[in-house]
C-alpha cells in the first residue's frame, strides 16, 4: 500500500474528500452569512439555527408528511427563507436604525429560542435520515471509493455558490444590492425599495442555510444542536475570508474544510482547532482577512445612561446598602444560590467594563472564566496550593490569556471583534476538552477548598460565604473606582469618539488592550472563586453558551451601568434556579427575555431607571434656571 509521511494514501484521500464535503457546507453557510453581513452589517448568530431548521425540517417532512428528499431540497429553503423574511420584517428591522450590535444580539436571542423549541419538539438525540435512493451507492475511482451522494453534495454546493456569486456580482439586481450597501439612501432615491431588498437578502441567506441543512441531513448527525456547533466554525471561516467578501467566504469555506480533513489524517487531535488556528494566523498577517477590505465604522448611537447629578454620598450609600443586603441575605435565601449569583455578578461586571465602557462586546468571555477555573482547580488539587494562591494563579492565567486574546481582538472592532473573540473562545474550549490535565468531559472534580492563608478554613459555610462576599465587593469597588479614574475617563472618551481621543494624544489601542486585560483578569477572579465554591471546574464554564449568558445578564440589567450587571446576574441565576424544572424551555425563556429586552428596554433595567430619573432631574433643572435668582445647577462630581 502506498503511504505518504507514514499515512496510507487511501486514508488521506478519504479524509481529503471528507474535508471537501465539510468545506462545501462551510462555503454555503458562510456565503449566506457574508451576504447578510454585507447588506445589514450584522453577524447573523441565528445562521446555525436556520441551518438546523433545514436539516430537521427535511426529517420532519419525510417522517410526518411523507415528503421525500428532492421536494424537501426545494421546500425547506423556501419555508425557512420565508421564516427569515418574517424575522427580518418584524424583529430585526426594529433595530436596524441603531448600532448593528443590537441586531446581532437579537439574532443571538433568536438562536436560543429556535434551538430550545426544536429541542423540546425533537429531543436531542440524532434523527436518522436516509440517502435518497437515486444517489445510493458509489463509484470506485481506482484510488478510492466515491459515494454518489457525497459527490452530489460537492456539486450542488459549488453550483449554489456559483449562482449566488453570479447573481450578486454580475446581475443588475446584484448591482443594486452592492450599491445599497454603500449608500442605501441614494439607492432609495433611485426608486428602489431598499427595505424590501434587505428583507429578501435576509430571506435569501436563511434559504441558503436551510439548503445546506437539507444537503447535510443524510450524512451528518441531524439534531437540534447541530447548528450551534457549526456556527462558530462558520464565523471563523468568514473572518478568514474577509467579512462581507462573497468570494472570500466561498474560498475560505473550502480551504477550512480541506485543512480540517488533512489535519484529521495527520494529527487527528488538532482537527477541531485547526480552523481557529488558521483564523488567528490569517488575522495576524492580514487583519481584514484574505479578501476583506471593509473596515468597520464605529458608530455609537446609544450613549451610556448617566445621572445628571449624583453625589459621593449617594454612591457610598448605594454600595453600603448592597453590601449590607448581601451580608444578611443568607438568613433568608439559600447561600449556595447567593454565592453562585455573586460570582456571576463579578463576571458580568468585568464583562461590562469592556462592553459598556469600552464598547467592545466580546462573545467569548467564557474563555477567561473557564481557563481561570481550570488553573485554580488544577493548582489546588494537583499542586496542593492554598486557595488564595490557587485563585491568584487562575486570575493571572486569565490575565495572560487576556493579553494574547486582546492583542488579536483589539486590532479590530465591531462585528470582527465579536466574531474573533467567539472563535478564540472556541479554541480554548477544544483545548479544555482535549488536554489531559483538564479531565475532558468530566472536568476536574472535588477540588479542595483548603484554608485561606493557611488558617481561615473555607469548608465552613459561613466563612466561605463571607469570603465570596469580600471577593465580589472588592472586585465591584475596584471597577467602580476604575471607571471614575483618569483611565476610565479616557476609556469613555474613546468610546465616544476614538479619532478625537487619538488626536488628543492617547494611544487608543493600548487603552483597549489594558481594558481587555483587566476585564479578563477580573473574569478570571470570578471563575477561580466559583471553582473554590462549587469544587468543580467543567466544560460548561468555557462553553460559548456561558459567554452568551454573561451578555444576557449584562444587557438585561443595563450595559454601561454599575449596578446593572449585578442585578442582571441575580435575575438570570434566579431564573435558572427556579425554572430548572422546565428543562429545554429555560433556553427558550432566556432567549425570549433577551429578545424582549433588546426590543423594548435596551438600556436594561437599571439603565432605563437611570434614564428616567435623570430626565426628571434635568426637567427640574430647567425649571430651576427659569426662576430668577438663587437656583443654580448642582455640581455633579
Amino acid at each position: 500500500m502506498t503511504t505518504i509521511f507514514g499515512i496510507p494514501m487511501a486514508l488521506l484521500y478519504a479524509q481529503l474528500l471528507l474535508g471537501i464535503i465539510n468545506g462545501a457546507f462551510y462555503a454555503t453557510l458562510s456565503l449566506g452569512l457574508a451576504v447578510i453581513f454585507g447588506m445589514m452589517g450584522i453577524a447573523n448568530f441565528a445562521h446555525g439555527a436556520l441551518y438546523m431548521m433545514g436539516a430537521v425540517g427535511a426529517w420532519f417532512m419525510l417522517n410526518t408528511l411523507g415528503i421525500g428528499y428532492w421536494p424537501a431540497l426545494i421546500l425547506c429553503p423556501l419555508v425557512v427563507g420565508a421564516f427569515g423574511m418574517l424575522l427580518e420584517r418584524f424583529v430585526l428591522r426594529r433595530v436596524s436604525h441603531i448600532d448593528h450590535l443590537y441586531g446581532m444580539l437579537l439574532t443571538f436571542g433568536i438562536a436560543f429560542i429556535v434551538q430550545g423549541i426544536f429541542r423540546f419538539w425533537f429531543g436531542s438525540a440524532g434523527l436518522p435520515y436516509a440517502i435518497p435512493s437515486l444517489l445510493t451507492g458509489g463509484v470506485n475511482l481506482g484510488f478510492m471509493f466515491l459515494p454518489y451522494y457525497r459527490a452530489w453534495v460537492i456539486v450542488a454546493s459549488l453550483g449554489v455558490c456559483f449562482l449566488t456569486w453570479f447573481a450578486i456580482e454580475k446581475t443588475r439586481l446584484g448591482a443594486y444590492l452592492r450599491a445599497a450597501t454603500e449608500n442605501s439612501k441614494l439607492v432609495q432615491a433611485f426608486g428602489i425599495n431598499v427595505p424590501v431588498m434587505i428583507m429578501l437578502v435576509y430571506g435569501g441567506g436563511a434559504a441558503l442555510a436551510a439548503f445546506a441543512g437539507v444537503l447535510a441531513a443524510p450524512i451528518l448527525q441531524v439534531n437540534p444542536t447541530m447548528g450551534a456547533e457549526v456556527l462558530i466554525v462558520i464565523f471563523a471561516v468568514v473572518v478568514i475570508g474577509g467579512l462581507g467578501s462573497i468570494k472570500g467566504a466561498i474560498i475560505a469555506g473550502f480551504l477550512a474544510g480541506i485543512a480540517e480533513g488533512l489535519t484529521k489524517a495527520f494529527y487527528p487531535e488538532a482537527s477541531t482547532t485547526v480552523v481557529f488556528l488558521l483564523m488567528a494566523f490569517v488575522l495576524v498577517v492580514m487583519p481584514t482577512g484574505l479578501f476583506g477590505t471593509k473596515t468597520q465604522a464605529a458608530a455609537t448611537s446609544v450613549s451610556l445612561p448617566a445621572l445628571a447629578h449624583e453625589s459621593a454620598f449617594m454612591r457610598w450609600a448605594l454600595f453600603g446598602a448592597m453590601a449590607i443586603g448581601l451580608a444578611i441575605a443568607p438568613l433568608f435565601i439559600y447561600p449556595a444560590f447567593l454565592m453562585k449569583a455573586m460570582t456571576y455578578a463579578l463576571f458580568a461586571c468585568a464583562f461590562n467594563l469592556m462592553a459598556g465602557y469600552g464598547k467592545l462586546v466580546s462573545f467569548g468571555h467564557a474563555m477567561f472564566l473557564g481557563t481561570a477555573g481550570y488553573v485554580t482547580a488544577y493548582a489546588a488539587k494537583t499542586w496542593g496550593l492554598s486557595p488564595e494562591l490557587a485563585i491568584l494563579a487562575g486570575t493571572a492565567s486569565a490575565a495572560v490569556l487576556g493579553l494574547v486574546a486582546g492583542w488579536l481582538c483589539t486590532r479590530s472592532s465591531g462585528v470582527y471583534f465579536a466574531m474573533i473573540s467567539l472563535a478564540l473562545a472556541q479554541m480554548i474550549y477544544f483545548l479544555a476538552l482535549q488536554l489531559p490535565q483538564t479531565g475532558g468531559e468530566d472536568g476536574i472534580q472535588s477540588v479542595p477548598r483548603g484554608a485561606l492563608f493557611g488558617f481561615i478554613d473555607l469548608s465552613n459555610p459561613t466563612t466561605l460565604y463571607l469570603f465570596v462576599l469580600a471577593v465580589f465587593l472588592g472586585g465591584f469597588l475596584f471597577l467602580s473606582c476604575l471607571i471614575r479614574s483618569p483611565f476610565g475617563q479616557i476609556l469613555k472618551a474613546i468610546r465616544e469618539h476614538e479619532p478625537r481621543a487619538q488626536s488628543l494624544g492617547y494611544s487608543t489601542d493600548r487603552y483597549k488592550l489594558a481594558t481587555f486585560v483587566i476585564s479578563a483578569a477580573l473574569s478570571g477572579l470570578a471563575g477561580s472563586t466559583k471553582v473554590i465554591v462549587t469544587q468543580i471546574a467543567s466544560l460548561t464554564d468555557v462553553h460559548w453558551s456561558m459567554s452568551g449568558e454573561v451578555i444576557l445578564m449584562t444587557f438585561l440589567g443595563g450595559v454601561g451601568t454599575l449596578y446593572g450587571p449585578v442585578l442582571g446576574s441575580f435575575v438570570v441565576v434566579a431564573m435558572q434556579n427556579y425554572l430548572s424544572a422546565l428543562g429545554a424551555w429555560v433556553t427558550v425563556i432566556q432567549g425570549a427575555v433577551f429578545v424582549i429586552c433588546i426590543l423594548t428596554f435596551r438600556r436594561g433595567i437599571v439603565g432605563e431607571l437611570i434614564t428616567f430619573v435623570s430626565a426628571r432631574q434635568r426637567e427640574k433643572d430647567r425649571r430651576g434656571i427659569a426662576m430668577p435668582a438663587g437656583s443654580k445647577v448642582v455640581t455633579g462630581t
Binding site: H497, S503, L504, V633
Partner: protein, 239 residues
C-alpha cells in the same frame, strides 16, 4: 506625498511646507483634498507615496496619537467633542496627558490641584464657566465647535490644524472664534482650512490653494487671491 483610494488620487504629489510660527490657510473647492491632507499630516491616513517631516525628523511611520504627543494636534471638520461627557470633563481629558495622569487606574483627576486650576482657566478663557457641568451634547452646534477648539488649545500644541472651524457657525460666533484663533496663534503654528474668505483674509498670512488633490498656488493672500486661475478653480469647482 500622494494618497490613492482604489486608484483615485485624493492628494497627488503635494509638496507642502508649514513654517514655524506661521498662520497658514489652505483653501480650495469641495473635494479638493484639504481634509485628506490634514489626515495625512496627522497620520489618520497613511500616504501611498511620500514622506512627512516634523522639525527635520521623519514621522511618516508614526500613529495619530504619537503625532499628537509631538504637539501636532488637529480638530475635525465634523465637530468632535465627547458628547456624553460634561464640558468640564471634555477639557480635563485634554489636560490629563500633560499632567501625567493618563495611566492612573484609581483615584480621581479632581484631586490634582494643578489640573483643576488649569481646567478652570480654560473654562473661563472660552466662556464655559457657567455651563461647565452640562453634557457637551446639550450645547448648540456653534458652542460645540468652540469647545472643540478649547480642548485642542488646552493640550498646548505647538502646531494646530483646524479643519473648517467656522463651518456652521453664526455671524457672532465667527467673530469670536476668529478672535480666539488669533490669540492662540501667538507662539504657535496654525494650519487652517476654511471656506469663509473673509476669515481667511483676516487671519492668514499665507495661503495654499488646492484643487483636485494638487497645489494650484501658494503665497501671500493678496497675491494669490487675485490670480485668475485660482478664481477659475474656485468658481468652476464649486458650481
Amino acid at each position: 506625498m500622494s494618497i490613492a483610494f482604489n486608484g483615485f488620487y485624493a492628494v497627488k504629489n503635494v509638496d507642502f511646507t508649514l513654517h514655524e510660527g506661521a498662520l497658514h490657510a489652505v483653501i480650495g473647492p469641495n473635494g479638493a483634498g484639504k481634509t485628506t491632507l490634514f489626515n495625512l499630516l496627522t497620520k489618520f491616513l497613511q500616504p501611498t507615496e511620500g514622506q512627512i517631516f516634523h522639525r527635520g525628523v521623519e514621522v511618516t511611520a508614526l500613529k495619530p496619537a504619537a503625532i499628537a504627543r509631538q504637539g501636532v494636534v488637529r480638530s475635525f471638520q465634523i465637530s468632535a467633542v465627547f458628547q456624553a461627557l460634561t464640558i468640564r470633563e471634555n477639557i480635563e481629558l485634554a489636560l490629563l496627558r500633560r499632567s501625567g495622569l493618563q495611566w492612573r487606574l484609581l483615584g480621581n483627576a479632581r484631586r490634582d490641584k494643578a489640573l483643576v486650576e488649569r481646567t478652570e482657566q480654560v473654562l473661563e478663557q472660552f466662556g464655559f464657566t457657567r455651563e461647565a457641568d452640562i453634557a457637551a451634547a446639550e450645547l448648540s452646534y456653534g458652542r460645540k465647535r468652540v469647545l472643540e477648539l478649547a480642548t485642542t488649545v488646552a493640550t498646548d500644541p505647538s502646531v494646530l490644524l483646524l479643519d473648517e472651524p467656522m463651518a456652521g457657525l453664526g455671524r457672532e460666533d465667527i467673530d469670536r472664534v476668529a478672535e480666539l484663533i488669533q490669540t492662540t496663534a501667538k507662539g504657535r503654528t496654525i494650519l487652517l482650512v476654511e471656506h469663509n474668505m473673509q476669515v481667511v483674509s483676516r487671519l492668514a498670512e499665507r495661503i495654499t490653494v488646492m484643487a483636485r488633490g494638487q497645489i494650484l498656488a501658494e503665497g501671500p493672500y493678496s497675491e494669490v487671491s487675485s490670480r485668475p486661475d485660482v478664481i477659475a478653480a474656485y468658481t468652476g469647482g464649486t458650481h
